[in-house]
């Protein structure tokens, strides 16, 4: 049995390790797309802020990890899947045969249609290659513009600020992280960043970018312009499904899979940021490019590839962000159901905010700002659909009792 995995990010590596555990005698090959050792993009900001060395991003720190597990790592990228002959073609023309194939080729950053984004000095912060360029250009005291204050943008924001650059963040939305935080939390986060020396411009777009010698002239929709050495573009990501054209694999927003993570073709599975998931909160299908979803996909896909049964029951949206020391989280239907009840606690002066959203007797969504303790129970309360009983009224009166509510409801104190 030869398992072939396209992609060497967290989904690919988790799947390879699961396959090795469940199918000790199989052959396992991972094919990377960037010519790097397997690594985690999520760790890149922590290299930029000096917290770790580049090696700290590597997926698995122990030396000889893949050799020891007898997992072969090849350099790709894969250019085509030939499902009929059960093989994948690599750049350069070589081919690899598979018995079972996992597509975990991830996502790529979106480049919005703004003139000038192809200029030197404009970069994404997505790959180790990008990171090395940004380390060069984002020196202390340099003028840097960041396009986008979404989830990824906000993580990069912190890393850039810690490098000591003069940072301006330009966000189209009316607040920071509009897909994760409401007006109150997103507004507080903006205020916090401004208080920490980052210029945050919301309701503002970049109209065009022009060269200015070694520098860039970044023209904003407001009419103002900024001079910068570096423009970092963090305007979202999209699944890397381009190479699947003509393969017969069904693609919607991402690769379409069944509950076993199998694609529309037999013996081909998919996992990670390239796949669309069933959102257990909304009932809708979307690409949820978050680490907890990615590793669940990988585990389910690999288990089925190994000949055992596992089902994926759907994804819960959840995010955590630490922006210059202010921790924000959001879970599930954080913006509410429209008809359910809501509990809110706000201490703007001390940057503390908690919002809970209920549907009947259940918690269905939550957001927190400045409240780092026991936040995981928000997942437990939402995903386990715990009947809150008397604790609903208690949470309505004081949402900060949520850890107590979880402990009480799971220990018969309700």
């Amino acid at each position: 049995m030869h398992h072939v995995i396209i992609g060497t990010g967290p989904a690919g590596v988790s799947a390879a390790e699961t396959l090795r555990r469940l199918n000790p005698g199989s052959k396992i090959t991972m094919i990377g797309g960037e010519g790097e050792v397997p690594y985690s993009r999520m760790a890149i900001p922590y290299v930029l802020d000096g917290g770790i060395k580049e090696q700290g991003t590597h997926l698995r720190q122990d030396k000889g990890h893949y050799e020891r597990l007898d997992i072969e790592v090849l350099a790709g990228p894969v250019t085509r899947i030939d499902a009929q002959h059960k093989l994948v073609e690599l750049l350069g023309g070589s081919a690899v045969n598979y018995d079972k194939l996992l597509i975990a080729a991830g996502a790529s950053p979106v480049k919005p249609p703004v003139p000038g984004l192809d200029l030197p000095g404009v970069h994404h912060c997505w790959t180790l290659g990008d990171m090395r360029v940004i380390e060069e250009l984002a020196q202390s005291g340099e003028d840097v513009v960041l396009m986008g204050a979404g989830f990824i943008g906000s993580i990069i924001l912190e890393a850039l600020k810690k490098r000591g650059v003069n940072l301006t963040v330009v966000e189209l939305g009316d607040r920071m992280v509009p897909r994760m935080l409401d007006e109150t939390a997103g507004g507080l986060l903006k205020q916090w960043c401004i208080g920490h020396g980052v210029d945050v411009l919301t309701d503002t777009g970049i109209d065009r970018v022009e060269p200015d010698g070694e520098r860039l002239s970044v023209h904003l929709t407001s009419g103002a312009s900024l001079s910068a050495r570096l423009l970092v573009v963090a305007a979202g990501v999209k699944p890397n499904t381009g190479f699947l054209t003509g393969s017969g694999i069904k693609v919607g927003r991402g690769i379409v899979v069944d509950a076993h993570q199998q694609t529309s073709l037999p013996d081909i599975y998919a996992a990670g940021d390239i796949v669309e998931s069933h959102d257990i909160s909304t009932g809708e299908v979307s690409v949820m490019a978050i680490q907890p979803v990615v590793v669940d996909h990988a585990r389910v896909a690999a288990t089925n590839m190994a000949g055992f049964k596992a089902r994926y029951e759907g994804a819960l949206a959840m995010n955590v962000l630490d922006t210059l020391g202010l921790i924000t989280t959001s879970f599930g239907l954080w913006h509410g159901t429209g008809s359910g009840e809501q509990a809110m606690s706000l201490d703007a002066e001390n940057y503390k905010y908690l919002r809970l959203e209920f549907d009947g007797d259940h918690l269905v969504g939550a957001q927190s700002l400045g409240l780092p303790e026991h936040v995981g129970v928000l997942r437990g309360l939402i995903q386990s659909r715990i009947d809150l009983g008397p604790w609903k009224q208690r949470l309505m009166a004081n949402p900060h009792q949520l850890a107590a509510a979880y402990v009480a409801c799971t220990n018969g104190v309700c």
């Binding site: 967290p10 907890p292 596992a310 994926y312 955590v320 995981g376």
Partner: protein
């Protein structure tokens, strides 16, 4: 034989010795805020519930860690954080549905119960045997494991 913390909330008096012992064991100070075990006090019901990580099989914290900083000891089943590898991204703190792995802004790392390397201070110091350290099969974690299973979106293979 794997051993586990067995918590009998009915015996807990809410004295918080366990919190002090945990804080001292891990941080060298007596400060309940720094404890990795917490006693929840329900005054209306006159109930006290000591609460910490159950070292669950699902180990969401370990599965989700993007840099492999959390490992499971094959002998004891303890999931522990390698502070040198942890980058402080906090994904584990939202992935753990029990809320028992938390971020320490002072160290910039996450921390959780590690059973004190095999001699948990909380159990040692509990004056009423509400917390004991016994064979895992007898520890009565079934209840919390049931809650773990209800949260599990990706059940393990029946291998």
């Amino acid at each position: 034989m794997q051993k586990a913390l067995a918590i009998d909330a009915g015996k807990c008096t809410g004295c918080k010795q366990c919190e002090l012992a945990c804080s001292f064991e891990h941080e060298g100070i007596f400060n309940v805020v720094r404890s990795r075990i917490r006693v929840f006090i329900f005054e209306e019901e006159a109930r006290f519930v000591p609460y910490t990580c159950t070292q669950c099989d699902q180990a969401w914290c370990m599965q989700v860690c993007p840099v492999g900083a959390i490992t499971s000891d094959p002998m004891s089943g303890v999931k522990s954080v390698n502070a040198a590898t942890c980058v402080g991204c906090k994904v584990c703190t939202i992935a753990c549905p029990f809320g028992t792995i938390n971020y320490n802004a002072g160290s910039g790392k996450v921390e959780k119960c590690d059973l004190c390397g095999g001699d948990p201070a909380c159990a040692r110091e509990c004056p009423t045997d509400a917390i004991t350290f016994i064979d895992a099969g007898l520890a009565g974690y079934a209840k919390m494991q049931d809650w773990a299973a209800r949260t599990d979106t990706a059940p393990q293979a029946a291998s």
